[in-house]
Amino acid sequence: MNKVKVLFFATLRDKAGLRAVELELPPGMTIEQLKTMLVEKFPNLNGLMDHCLASINHEYHFDESEIPADAEIAFFPPVSGG
């Protein structure tokens, strides 16, 4: 199993009440599969994961990306800084 850290920002963190979780994932798991797993584990995330952005190790990634060991993954809405 791969140890990973998952972070949530902005609306996602606020609405789900979740800032960060540490998980063990099967090797080869994709972002899409992780989203499904997160919604099962934390029902408050239901409806929030569909349109959010994802990053792996500070780079944008998409549903089909596989998650490497020791990854830092983040989920967040489109950015609104400046």
Binding site: F9, A10, S55, F76, P77, P78, S80, G81, G82
Partner: protein, 161 residues
């Protein structure tokens, strides 16, 4: 090849324009183009359906947060994109202030220096702020008389961005 000065920062401190511009000024620098964005306390919105055609929107403050290590990485990427498009750019400073920020307060700075002003240095700064608002992971929540609301971004990065 000279190493050109660069600064990328997510900070809770005041944005000091004098210090930042000085940091990216070389002995061969003749021009700096600088953009700063501020918290708008009142915004006039054109709403054709309202009687006057305009409504006034009041903001008490904005609450900024960042995914700091990724934000700094994406600022570096913005700087690399600037250098690819305007190779004459010398120094680059990109700073996002976070935390609770009140109207009139500078929240963001992009500054680019070059030997001369006719080198695209204005376009480089403009490009920098546009890209920061697309790919640098920072979010803001607006707090005003109507309550709290997250400001919605609308840019969806593509693979490789």
């Amino acid at each position: 090849m000279t190493e050109y000065p660069e600064i990328f920062s997510i900070t809770e401190d005041e944005i000091d324009l004098n210090t930042l511009v000085d940091f990216i000024t070389l002995p061969s620098t003749g021009a700096a183009a600088i953009f700063t964005g501020m918290v708008r306390g009142s915004t006039t919105r054109h709403e054709p359906e309202s009687g006057s055609g305009r409504t006034r929107h009041e903001t008490a403050y904005l609450e900024y947060e960042a995914y700091t290590p990724m934000a700094e990485a994406k600022m570096k990427q913005v700087a690399a994109e600037i250098r690819a498009r305007w190779p004459v750019v010398q120094g680059i400073a990109i700073v996002q202030r976070i935390g609770r920020l009140y109207p009139r307060t500078p929240t963001v700075l992009i500054a680019c220096t070059a030997a001369h002003r006719d080198t695209g240095v204005f376009d480089a700064a403009r490009y920098g702020i546009d890209r920061l608002k697309e790919i640098v992971p920072v979010w803001k929540k607006e707090v005003g008389p109507q309550g709290e609301v997250w400001v919605e971004g609308d840019y969806l990065p593509r693979p490789g961005e």
